[in-house]
């Protein structure tokens, strides 16, 4: 683990530095250690960072646990992600917010909050993070067992740092996902270029011409890509590549000449 993460955070500048170092960390352990110190600097005790993404009809929730694991087990066992009002908030908003400001509409949500209070989230802050990929969002839950005033004070003091913190965590996790997908599938720069061309609806001929490689090589590569990604065709390969974080999904529309 990097020696940087061992230094305590004593000031706004330290916290700002620590957040900006996140992109340089290599392992989840470094991220978790840094996150604990940052959360402590905020005057809070617990956190959970979730990355949520959709592939087709399926949803995937991936959580870095910075609280008692029993809470995550309970949340998972009760399938509370399906009714979590904070996920709903994060899907539609970008601003950090006090958890108490998000209305609870069902008895299930009331039960969720009552249990959260028993597991270190008596009060808290919800920080959405949105990435370049429209199918993936991040949500940072910051919690305290000390009650609403503590959360409110922390929120008023550190709101902007919290937002930066959540964004850095999401970007780190996106990069990690991309790196591990590239390694696992053994893909190279040409594969990435070809996926991007396919996403732009370029034909094999156009891709070959624009990338300066032979048509037979492009065709062979597309075949290999569909095999590696375990999909039937090029279009599905693009969708899977987006899901795996290999290429971005949302593209700014091209200006018509």
């Amino acid at each position: 683990m990097g020696s940087r993460s061992l230094e305590a955070i004593g000031s706004f500048g330290d916290a700002d530095d620590r957040i900006s170092w996140i992109s340089g960390y290599e392992t989840e352990a470094e991220i978790e250690a840094a996150a604990r110190q940052i959360v402590e600097y905020f005057g809070l005790q617990s956190f959970v960072f979730g990355a949520l993404f959709r592939s087709g009809e399926r949803e995937h929730y991936r959580y870095l646990v910075g609280c008692t694991p029993e809470w995550c087990y309970l949340y998972n066992q009760k399938k509370w992600y399906a009714i979590d009002p904070f996920i709903d908030y994060a899907l539609k908003n970008t601003s950090p917010v006090l958890a108490s400001a998000i209305p609870l509409n069902t008895a299930g949500q009331e039960r969720l909050m009552a249990e959260a209070a028993e597991h270190g989230f008596r009060a808290g802050i919800v920080v959405p993070a949105h990435s370049g990929s429209a199918i993936r969002i991040g949500i940072l839950y910051l919690g305290t067992s000390e009650g609403l005033e503590c959360a409110r004070e922390s929120f008023l003091k550190h709101r902007n740092l919290m937002r930066a913190f959540a964004l850095e965590l999401l970007e780190w996790w996106d990069a990690k996902l991309r790196e591990s997908s590239l390694e696992r599938l053994d893909l190279d720069a040409l594969d990435m270029d070809l996926l991007t061309k396919a996403q732009d609806h370029a034909t094999a001929e156009e891709a070959a011409h624009e990338l300066g490689v032979t048509l037979s090589r492009v065709r062979a590569r597309y075949e290999r890509l569909t095999r590696k990604l375990e999909v039937p065709n090029k279009r599905n390969a693009v969708e899977k590549a987006v899901t795996l974080g290999l290429i971005k999904s949302a593209r700014w529309p091209k200006v018509q000449p």
């Binding site: 392992t27 989840e28 352990a29 009809e57 399926r58 959580y63 646990v65 694991p69 087990y73 992600y81």
Partner: protein, 105 residues
């Protein structure tokens, strides 16, 4: 060509390695546990996959085997996967003992 090989070697050195894992079907759900070594640290991933494909993965980095043991033995499904958990933790302990004898990368 040399650069590509070097890059691949570097990737392999940097890649996290899977130390132990198990997968168990529990009714309509599947529980998957994976423990990785990532450089000089460890990560436990506990994934529950629903019948419809929805998955929920908890990621807990750790430095000591006791942390992983505490996490997995607190699992609500622990009583149904006890054997797999002990086997997985056994492999982790073995890997950690071997790792202790080697210089940290």
């Amino acid at each position: 060509m040399k650069n590509v090989r070097k890059q691949k070697q570097k990737q392999k050195q940097n890649a996290r390695s899977l130390l132990s894992e198990f997968s168990s079907t529990l009714g309509s759900e599947t529980l998957k546990v994976r423990i990785y070594r990532d450089r000089e640290t460890f990560v436990c991933e506990r994934e529950l996959v629903e019948r419809d494909g929805t998955s929920f993965t908890m990621v807990l980095p750790f430095m000591q085997a006791e942390t992983a043991r505490a996490l997995l033995s607190a699992d609500p499904y622990f009583s149904r996967v006890r054997g797999e958990v002990w086997r997985t933790l056994g492999k982790l302990n073995k890997a950690m003992r071997e790792h202790d004898g080697k210089p940290v990368s």
